[in-house]
Symmetry: C2
Subunit: 345 residues, 2 copies
């Protein structure tokens, strides 16, 4: 009932030649008689021969699989990264094995181990917010398996990295609010110890300093899960301050949406009473009312760049050549929409 896939042996048998000859013909090996080659190619085509990657890879001791650790699949920013990764991987003959950490360190460690067991040739990872110990990744490096970190990276590991310029993006977002006339700008920040959250905080502070505005710790709110609800809570707290802000810069669009919902419920008009800006440029930001200003992070580009770098390192490693790690910083782009656009005067 279930027909077996065609193997080299099948072709060899039908042609009365050896398996080796068929193999050589198929991979365009030089020392082969043209007629033989042609006969093989023709029969292979006719029998719909497909090389068995498991056998090939076992032989070469490689899998042609790239592991991708991603915090959340259902998330515009991350799914656009996946898209970029897949595009390059497919183009280069690699397949992608995706695992979702859900921002959970234990799960990350388990899945990273699973990918190692699956013999991935390289790993792309944005680590969970809760990750502080990188021993599970060091294990890869000890085995000579390259890692490229993207988005959430750490200085603790000597690997190549792809990040966006969080500091610059954050600086621009804050400065934009200042230019719009805001003088008390709150920042709802990301989790402590997470690099890009820290950089965004720095960019925010430096923009204030540049414009001789005070950095008021009262106006800096923390998040932990970085979600809608935390944006809402932080906003309520900010509104109940004796001297509330006139602008809010949220660490990510989702949080900014929570901000906007609470403002709407509180009858505060955006942008005139309160200017709002987010970070990431999710699709949803463009369709809410008022459309949310934000900082665009080039998700697909991050995915493409990281994958290109990783495959490059994989190939260098296979050729026993030395690799030089590098950190690529991609530019963000300020996207001004109505939520921060004050009328002139």
């Amino acid at each position: 009932m279930k027909q077996q896939p065609v193997t080299l042996k099948d072709i060899a048998a039908k042609l009365g030649v050896s398996v080796a000859t068929v193999s050589r013909a198929l991979r365009g090996y030089p020392d082969i008689r043209p007629e033989t080659k042609e006969a093989v190619l023709e029969l292979a085509e006719e029998m719909r021969y497909r090389p068995n990657p498991l056998a090939m890879n076992l032989r070469k001791n490689q899998s042609n699989i790239i592991g991708l650790m991603i915090p959340e699949v259902v998330h515009h920013f991350f799914s656009s990264i996946i898209e970029g990764v897949m595009e390059i991987a497919e183009e280069q003959g690699y397949t992608v094995m995706i695992c979702q950490s859900n921002e959970d360190f234990e799960r990350e460690r388990r899945d990273v181990g699973m990918l190692l067991s699956a013999r991935v040739d390289g790993l792309l990872i944005s680590h969970a917010n809760s990750t502080t110990d990188f021993a599970h990744l060091q294990e890869y490096l000890d085995l000579g398996i390259p890692i490229v970190m993207y988005d959430k990276v750490t200085d603790d590991l000597d690997v190549s990295k792809v990040v966006v310029d969080d500091y610059q993006g954050s600086f621009q977002a804050t400065e934009h609010l200042i230019v719009q006339g805001c003088t008390r700008i709150a920042h709802i920040r990301g989790p402590q110890g997470v690099k890009n959250a820290e950089e965004r905080l720095e960019g925010y502070k430096d923009a204030l300093l540049k414009h001789h505005l005070p950095v008021d710790e009262e106006l800096i709110k923390n998040t932990y899960r970085v979600d809608l609800a935390e944006g809402a809570t932080a906003t309520s707290e900010l509104l109940s301050l004796p001297h509330p802000p006139d602008g809010i810069y949220a660490v990510t669009d989702l949080v900014a949406l929570g901000v906007m919902q609470t403002l709407r419920e509180s009858g505060i008009s955006v942008p005139n009473q309160m200017a709002v800006i987010g970070f990431s440029n999710w699709f949803v930001s463009s369709v809410v009312d008022p459309p949310l200003s934000t900082v665009h992070q080039p998700g697909t580009e991050i995915g493409k760049t990281a994958t290109t770098m990783l495959i490059n390192e994989i190939r260098l490693g296979q050729a026993d050549q030395s690799v030089v790690h590098e950190t690529r910083v991609l530019n963000t782009r300020l996207v001004v929409r109505d939520s921060s656009k004050r009328k002139r005067g």
Copy 2:
């Protein structure tokens, strides 16, 4: 520099036993001396042995890989399906290889072939809107590789399927608008020949008929790419009708968002002048203003169900047992938000 992964041979050598013994100890084979077993287990742990799946799979002639064809990765509905698929796959020891068809038939055919070459044990597919020829899938069936279709399915193939009850969801959405007092309800429909688009159209028509409302072809608009812009265009056309509708039911939320944008620009108030409802329940629908009523499609459940069914068929096939194909219809759920909620009276 690059240390080789530990193999059974390494363990056997260190322990002075044969490879077979080590293999047996590791897989809990009965006929083995407790001391031997313990020694093996201990050393394997110490040496951080990980079985090479390529070797095991080559032996068993299976890959433990599930192929997943998905129209678009960056799409809330589809990424939640991916999440469901990954959850079950990981739980069952399978890995997922994802390919994106981008609604392009040629790309779908190519990628389906690539997955076949990668020797996937089974295939999950939502076919592209443009797919009418299913020979590339029949090839799987001929090879005894199970397929489960989800979301976009066809009657042309004898395989298991997972769909949502588009007809019922559509009927409910339309009836809801009628109950809210709409008497001229437009439908912006999905592409011709695509099954779920046709079913939604039927549900719409039948709801009108049930309530003795005429089906006016003028009020049925087509889409091809099913995007924001088409929703906007269709709305403009509907508004310029001599007798415009008082409710719009769009085939999917994205289209409904285009509808809402155009209505806002035209100064038409939602829901009172025009009630709007979409389909799919994207995350974005809950955060727009007014929040968009819609029909929830359980994406994660679709992914989980389809994967469970597929793995089941894979295992039955491996055990040479017969499989019975079935079609699972998951219920949709009407989500009423402000875009369709008319004031009483």
